[in-house]
C-alpha cells in the first residue's frame, strides 16, 4: 500500500451515525441474521423453540431500546463534508419511535400467533413451502407434525423494513425499506398450511401487484428527484418554495409516490389485493400484515406528506379527501356482500384505512397523534380478530364462512363474547379503544374537513351492519348440522389474544396515558 493512497483514504469524511438512535433497527436485524444461523446449525428438534426465543428476544429487545430512546429527536447520519445527499435520512423522533414501538408490540403478538402449535397439526405454517401442491411429498408433509421455522427470520426481516419505513426522511431509503418489508411478506403469504393453492395464488398476486406498487413508488421518486434534484424529503420541501421548477414533475411524482404508499396501506382504490391475500394466506400472517404493515405504511405516509409536502398541503388535500371517501365507502359497502369472515375483516381494514386518512387532511400535531393512536388500537383489535379465526375449525381447517359461525355462542360463549368486543371496537361503540380512536381522528379533522367527518360517520354506520351480522349469527342463530369446533389455543396464542383484547378494552376505558404519549410524540424531525 503506497503512502499517497493511505492519505487519500484519510481524506474521506465518514458520516457520523448515531448508532444509539438506530439500536432498535439493529437489534431486530441482528436477531434476523441470528435466526438464519440458527436455521443452519441447530438440530431440527430444538429449532422451533430456539427460533421462537430468538425472535421474541429480538422484538422485545427492540421494544426496550425504543422505550429507552423516548424523547430522542435526532436526524442521522450527519452530513459528510459539504455533501448533504444522505444527511438526516433517518429521522428518529417522537413519531418514528411511537410507530416503531407500536410495530414491535404488534409484531410480538403476531409472532405468538405464528407460533401456535395446538390448533393444527404442526403449525398454521406449511412444513415446506416449495413442495409442489398435491404431490405425494406434499400430502405426507401436510399430515406430519414437521414445522417450518424459516418464517421467524422472514418475519424479523419484514419488521426491520417496517421499522425503517416510518423513520425514513429520504425517499431512496424509504424505497429500500419498502422492499425489505415487502419481499419477506410476499414469501410469507404463500406459507399457509391448508388450502395451499389459494395461498400460493395469494402470494403471487401480492407479489405482482406489490411489484407494481413499488414500481410506481420508484417512478414517483425519480420524477421528484428530477424536480428537486434530491431525494431528501426536506430538500423536496424546500425546493417547493423556490419558483421556476416544473410543477408537473412535482405533482405527478407525488401522485405516483402516493400510489405506492396507499397500496401498502390497502387504501381503496389500491386495495384489490387485500381480500384475496388476507383470505389466502395463513391467518397469523394475515394478522401480521393487517396490523404491522398498516402501522408502517401510514407512518411512511405521514412522513412523506407532513415533512416533504407540508408546504403544498392545499394541493394534496383533495387527493386525500378523494381516496379517504373511496376507501371508506368501498370498505363499508363491499364488505356487506362478503360471506367469508376473513374477507369481511379485509374490507373492514380498507374502511379503517379510510378513517385514518380522514385525520391526514388536518395537518396539525393533533392529527398526527390521532393517526398514531388509531393505528395502534386498530392493530390490536384486528390482530386479535384474526387470531380468533384460527380457533374455529372443522375438518378442512379454519371455518371462515359466515354460516359456519352460526350459533357459535352456544358452543363457546367465550370466543363469541371476545369476538363481539373486538367487532364492537371496530364498529366504534363506546367503552372500546376503537371508539376513542374514531373520536380522536374525527375531532382532529373536524375543523378542516367537517363534511368528510360526516361521511366517515355514515360509512361507519354502514360498516356496522356487517360487524353486527357476525354478532347476530354467533348469538341469535342456530348452529348448522356440521358445525365447526372451537379449539383450545396453546399458550402462545392465548397470551397474544389476551393482551390484544385487554388492550382493546383497557384503552377504551383508560385512554389517557396513550393519548398523552401520542401527543408528546407528535413532532417530526428532518435534517
Amino acid at each position: 500500500m503506497s503512502g499517497a493512497h493511505t492519505l487519500a483514504i484519510a481524506a474521506i469524511d465518514t458520516p457520523s451515525v448515531s448508532y444509539k438512535a438506530l439500536a432498535p433497527i439493529f437489534i431486530v436485524l441482528g436477531a434476523a441474521l441470528l435466526g438464519i444461523i440458527v436455521e443452519a446449525v441447530i438440530p431440527r428438534r430444538e429449532r422451533f423453540n430456539v427460533q421462537l426465543s430468538v425472535t421474541l428476544a429480538g422484538l422485545i429487545g427492540g421494544f426496550v431500546a425504543v422505550a429507552l430512546l423516548h424523547g430522542t429527536r435526532v436526524a442521522t447520519p450527519s452530513p459528510v463534508g459539504n455533501d448533504p445527499s444522505f444527511a438526516g435520512s433517518l429521522g428518529i423522533d417522537g413519531v418514528g419511535l411511537f410507530l416503531q414501538g407500536s410495530i414491535l408490540i404488534l409484531a410480538v403478538l403476531a409472532t405468538l400467533l405464528v407460533a401456535e402449535r395446538s390448533v393444527d397439526i404442526g403449525s398454521p405454517i406449511v412444513a415446506s413451502a416449495a413442495v409442489v401442491v398435491g404431490s405425494p411429498t406434499d400430502r405426507t408433509l401436510s399430515r406430519s407434525t414437521r414445522v417450518q421455522t424459516e418464517v421467524f427470520p422472514l418475519l424479523l426481516f419484514a419488521v426491520t423494513g417496517m421499522l425503517i419505513f416510518p423513520v425514513a426522511n429520504n425517499l431512496l431509503l424509504m424505497f429500500v425499506a419498502l422492499e425489505v418489508l415487502s419481499l419477506p411478506l410476499y414469501l410469507m403469504a404463500g406459507m399457509a398450511r391448508r388450502r395451499r393453492l389459494l395461498s400460493q395464488e395469494a402470494s403471487l398476486k401480492y407479489f405482482l401487484l406489490g411489484a407494481f406498487g413499488s414500481a410506481f413508488f420508484l417512478y414517483g421518486l425519480a420524477l421528484l428527484y428530477g424536480y428537486a434534484n434530491s431525494v431528501d424529503l426536506y430538500a423536496i420541501f424546500q425546493a417547493q418554495r423556490g419558483s421556476g421548477r416544473s410543477d408537473l414533475l412535482l405533482y405527478v411524482g407525488l401522485a405516483l409516490l402516493l400510489v405506492g404508499l396507499l397500496f401498502k396501506a390497502s387504501v381503496a382504490p389500491f386495495h384489490s389485493w387485500t381480500p384475496d391475500v388476507y383470505s389466502g394466506t395463513a391467518t397469523p400472517v394475515a394478522a401480521f400484515m393487517a396490523s404491522c404493515t398498516k402501522v408502517a405504511a401510514f407512518g411512511a405516509l405521514l412522513r412523506v406528506l407532513y415533512v416533504g409536502f407540508a408546504g403544498t398541503q392545499w394541493d394534496w388535500r383533495p387527493i386525500i379527501w378523494a381516496v379517504a371517501i373511496t376507501s371508506m365507502v368501498v370498505g363499508a359497502v363491499f364488505g356487506i356482500t362478503q360471506t367469508d369472515i376473513k374477507r369481511i375483516l379485509a374490507y373492514s381494514s380498507i374502511a379503517h384505512a379510510g378513517f385514518i386518512l380522514v385525520a391526514f387532511v388536518a395537518v396539525t400535531k393533533d392529527s398526527v397523534a390521532a393517526v398514531m393512536f388509531y393505528v395502534l388500537t386498530y392493530g390490536f383489535s384486528t390482530l386479535a380478530a384474526f387470531g380468533l379465526l384460527m380457533l374455529v375449525r372443522d375438518a378442512d381447517g379454519e371455518a371462515t364462512h359466515l354460516s359456519q359461525w352460526s350459533g357459535l355462542a352456544r358452543k363457546s360463549p367465550l370466543v363469541a363474547t371476545v369476538m363481539t368486543i373486538l367487532l364492537m371496537s371496530m364498529a366504534g361503540i363506546p367503552l372500546t379503544a376503537g371508539f376513542i380512536g374514531k373520536f380522536y381522528v374525527f375531532e382532529s379533522a373536524w375543523h378542516t374537513a367537517g363534511p368528510l367527518v360526516v361521511i366517515a360517520l355514515i360509512s361507519s354506520a354502514i360498516a356496522a351492519f356487517y360487524y353486527l351480522r357476525i354478532v347476530v349469527l354467533m348469538f341469535f342463530a342456530e348452529a348448522p348440522e356440521n358445525a365447526p369446533t372451537v379449539t383450545i389455543p396453546g399458550w402462545t396464542s392465548s397470551v397474544a389474544l389476551t393482551v390484544a383484547v385487554v388492550a382493546t378494552v383497557g384503552l377504551g376505558l383508560f385512554p389517557q396515558w396513550l393519548i398523552d404519549l401520542a401527543t408528546k410524540a407528535s413532532e417530526l424531525v428532518a435534517q
Binding site: P430, Y440, W446, L457, F475
Partner: protein
Amino acid sequence: MHNPALLILTLIPLVGSVLVFSLPSDNGRLAKQLSLVVSLAIVVYALVLAFKFDTGSGAKRFQFVGSWTWIRNFGVHLAFGVDGIALVLVLMAVVLVPAVMLSSWNSFDSRAGAEEELTATSRRRSVKNFYGLLLLLEFFMIGVFTATDVFLFYVFFEAMLVPMYFIIGSFGGPRRSYAAMKFFLYSLVGGLLMLASVIGLYVTTGSSSFAITDLIGKVPDGATQKWLFLGFFIAFAIKAPLVPFHTWLPDAGAEAPVGGAVLLVGVLDKVGTFGFLRYCLPLFPQASTYFAPAILVLSVIGILYAAFLAIGQRDMKRLVAYTSVAHFGFIGLGIFAFTTQGGTGAVLYMVNHGLSTGALFIAVGLLIARGKSRNVADYGGAAKVTPLLAGFFLMAGLSALALPGMSTFVSEFLVLVGTFTRHKGLAVLATTGIVLAAIYVLYLYQRTFQGTVSAKVQKFRDLNVREVTAVAPLIALIIFLGVYPKPLLDIINPAVKDTLVNVHQTDPTPKITPVAGGQR
C-alpha cells in the same frame, strides 16, 4: 365536587351484573334472587337520595355533583349530577327493573311446562344471562340520566344499545334477530349523527371541557347551531321515537321479551325526550325555537297517526308499542311548547308513561304467557276466568288512556294546558288523541277479556302472588301520583324553569280582552 353518591348508584348494578354473570350457568334461581336483591337495594338507595334532594328555593339545580377527570386532552370528565328531571327519571327506571325481574321470573326457565315465551328455542336460553343483561342495562340507564358531561352521556347513550340488543336478539320472539338488528342500526345511525354534533359542539365552542354547564350558551347562533341541533335532535327523535323516525319501535317492542319491552319503551325511549330537555334546548336555544313549529306539528301527527295504527293492530305487543309512539307525541308537544306547564307536564308524562306502559306491557305479557299467542283474536272472555289479571289489565289500560284519577291524566292535562297557551290549534288537535286512546285501549280490553269464553281461555290460571307483587306496586304508584302528584311536581318544576330560562323563554302572560263598552 367529588360527591360519590351518584357514582356509587351507577356502579351498584354494574357490580351486580358482573356477579350475576360469574355465577355458574346451571343455577338460574340464584341468579334471579341475586339480581332481585341488587335491584331492590338500588331502589332503596335511590329513594334515600331522592329524600335528600333539596327542592327548596335557592337550591342548586344539579345536586350530588361528583366529577373526576377521565380523558384530559378532550376535557372529558366522569361527571355525575341530577336535577329534578333526571332524578325522577332515575327513580322511574330503578322502580321498573325489579317489576320486570319479577314478571319475567319463570319466562326462561328450563323446566318444561313452565310459562314460556313464544318460541321453541326459549328452553335453552340462559336465565343467568337475561338477569345479568338487565343489571348491565340498568347501569347504563342510570348513567345516561345522571351524566352531566356530554361525552360521558354519549358513551352511555351508545353503550346502552348493546345489552338491549342482546336482550331482544337472544330472548325475543320469532323475528328477534331482524328486530334486534333494526333496533341497533337505527339507533346507531342516530348515535353517529349525534357524535358528529358532539365533536362539532366541542370544536366550534372551543371549550376545553365537555361539562354541560360549561357548554350552555357557548354555541354561536346561526347555521352551525342549526346543524349541530339536528345531529342531536335526530338521534333523540329516533330514540324517543318521534314520527317519522318510529318504524323500529313496533318491531323491537313486539319481538323483545316482555321484560325487555318494558325497559325499552319505558326507560330507553325516555332518554330521547330527556335528551331534548337536557341537551337540545339549553345548548341550542336559537335552533330549538327555529325548529319548534315543525317538531310540534310532527308531534301532533304522531299522536293521531300512531293512535289510528294502534286501533288497527292485531298483535298486542305491537299495539302497545304504537300507543307509546302516540304518547311520545304528547311529550314532544309539552317540551317544544316552551311553557313551564308543558315542560313539567312532559317530564311527569315521561315518568307516568314509564309506569303505565310498563304495567300494560307486563299485563299483556302475563296474558301472552298463558295463551302463547300475541294475536288479539286468540283471546276472549278471559275476565271470567282470570278476574285479577283482568283487573290489572284494565287499570293499566285506563292509565294509558289518561283517565282522571290516574297519574297520566295529570301529565296529559298539564301538557295540553301548556300547549294551549301558545298553540291553540295544535292543542285542540292533540286532544282528539285522548278519544282515540280510549278506543284502542277499551277495544283491546273488550276483545281479549270480554265476550264468550273460548275453550283455550278456560284453562288459564289467574295471577299468583309473585305476579301480583310485580304489577301491584306500579298500579299503586299510578293511582297515588294521580291523586297526589305534588312531590314529583315540586322536584320537576324548578328544573324545567331553569331549562326554559336557557332557551330564553318565559310563560306567555294571560291576556284579558276588555269587553268593549262594558255592554253585551
